[in-house]
Amino acid sequence: MDLTLKIWRQKDSKSKGGFKTYHVKDISPDASFLEMLDILNEELIHKGEMPVNFDNDCREGICGACSLYVNGRPHGPDSAITICQVHMRKFKDGSTVTIEPWRSRAFPVISDLMVDRSAFDRIIQAGGYISVSTGGVPDANEIPINKMKADEAMDAAACIGCGACVATCKNASAMLFVSAKVSQLALLPQGQIEAKRRVQKMVKQMDYEGFGNCTNTGACEAECPKEIKLTNIARMNREFIGAKLGAQKMKL
């Protein structure tokens, strides 16, 4: 396959970036999208140019590092999959592929297609966990958990923190990411103990980071590589209302 690539190039966070056009030839349809970029990078190095920087690691769709906005879609043309698992057979021979970094005020571009997603880490640090220390916990089977709830918690916990939800949302909102963690822990009896505090702290941090507001367009759900459901956002809203109305005033 031969392709024309339009790729966002930006040396570092302070530089002004722009699109550059590249051509790659004889790409196997069985190559993955990132392998196609590897091939391009090898050519660039041989030409003495800097290769295109992009985050990637596991290349099996679970680490959440890869973050390319390809032809108007985060993670490219397929659904329920990260870009590292998209194979070139999904593209038409001779077509033009535009590759951009995630765009969000909360995810500043670091270099080329790499963005800084530490805002997600800070949201988790604000309360996306159960405050249990190592040791001194009961036997695992002392807490029976309704299977449906456990499965639902697992659905939410499958989030890989890639940020595709933010990237695709017209408002660059992080509600799907935050709600996935809030939901996972709110669905489990272990997590309910500090649920009211957790949801308020995480939402506060989310707002502080400068993400946009949710307008329930559902683009995040449609583009999420792990198919995290919009129902999580509703659950977070419910938790939030409950915490604001139902809980005692608390210092966050």
Partner: protein, 229 residues
Amino acid sequence: MSNYTLHYSSITKKIIMSLVGLFLITFLFLHLGINLTLLEKFRPGGSTDTFNIAAHFMGTNIVIKVFEVVLFGGFLIHILFGLILQIQNWMARPARYKIEGWSHTSPFSKFMIHTGALIFIFLVIHLLDFYFKAKVFGDIGSVTIDGKEYHDMGALVLAKFQSIGFVIFYVVLFIFLGFHLHHAFQSAFQTLGLNHSKYTPFIKGLSTIISIILPVGYAIIPLVIYFNS
């Protein structure tokens, strides 16, 4: 600017938006109910009396008067919060994509601020033409029904909708209202956390029905008036 304006969190602002929005929808039903009484005029031997009496009731009843303030407040809050949220949303993505977003999701949901702005313009014109004309400027005739004197709102409406341009303007704006409502009603439930595997499909269906019934109901009136005169 962090997304913490007005000291409310993003979710609180959205909850206020959704509650006010739902309240405004109930008003739309009430308003439509009263408007439809105008159609009595087009029955053989009908008149605008019922409409005028209803309009009078709406204009004078003390409970309604209180609610009128609430209603105006509601509109203001809905518009103000809508604007704040939208500005924040624009600011959340300072650099835009070369190839803009693509997703299978509802197109109406992406243009709420645009349909909202159109509805706002309509609202201003509508208020100037009817509400302020009657209430503030007193620029309105009167009619006597059962020995009591009323503002002749009916005549005002009938006169306005003689113009084809005005009718088209109204009908087109009602279509945009429909677009707005199509997303708004079910979205409000989602924002309020009311999402349920059994009931949400019903709410979504209801949202579609409302987004058709209300605009169609409203549009019938100018159309009937125009084509019957």
